[in-house]
Symmetry: C2
Subunit: 133 residues, 2 copies
Amino acid sequence: MKLTSRSEYALLALVFLARSDSAHHISVETIARAQNIPPKFLEQIMLALKHGKYVHSVKGQRGGYRLAKAPDKISLAEVIRLFDGALAPTESVSKYFYETTPIEKEKNLLRVFRQVRDQVAEILETTTIADVV
Amino acid sequence: MKLTSRSEYALLALVFLARSDSAHHISVETIARAQNIPPKFLEQIMLALKHGKYVHSVKGQRGGYRLAKAPDKISLAEVIRLFDGALAPTESVSKYFYETTPIEKEKNLLRVFRQVRDQVAEILETTTIADVV
DNA sequence: CATATTCCTAGTAAAGTAGTAGGAATAATA
DNA sequence: TATTATTCCTACTACTTTACTAGGAATATG
């Protein structure tokens, strides 16, 4: 279970926004400084979060971002999925296994992989940004 | 949670050996054909398993591999660790988080990551090759 | 001596990762 | 109106990892 920097930075940014006064918008610069994230990189990440409808943006001076959903409506799982692709579907837990093995024979191994996936998903689906704030 | 092909192939090879008659040794060629693994790649993997003391080998004609431990003494976790490095220590779950973030502030996020790690570890540590066979 | 095997090292092509660079669009402000 | 602060968007790049392949030395068996 390894997260990419993208999804970690995304979570950190969302958490920061959730903690901020939702009245005004917050710039990438501000978030980047607070959470210690490379600003230009965070710019990309915020853009993706915007496209994913997790944040709202306003351009221009005094512009920036704010959450587009209530923090308790954003699970860690969906954010991680947005950046790292599928969270842990069986195919991702076990890509080569699926592609190359006569599965009938090794379905016990498969069962364990699925169990892992389910446990990870369970935790990340049920934990929200609000829980972290 | 994504396994590399190496650790999946290693597990498949060990499972195959565990199911085989332990009296004689089994060649890479045989395992590779049975489990549909690129033979030269499997060669490397078997070598690593040998260095990790999971299998025993005999060179030359009629040579090959056999398990060096009882199948119920080999957990999936240790095999995966051998190939994919740390299974899911907190640092790996959350590399950038650790390196770049004032952790004090985001220790709730950290707690979730740890919870995921622990769950994954729990399953993989307690499941052995014997359970899969 | 031929053959079947493990042992070991090096190389390689493709993909993924973590960024950087730079400029267009837009909104507030001086 | 000009400047400035911001988002928006695309392209690029350096690095690492991944999944192999190649080839030959060592060694045991027939």
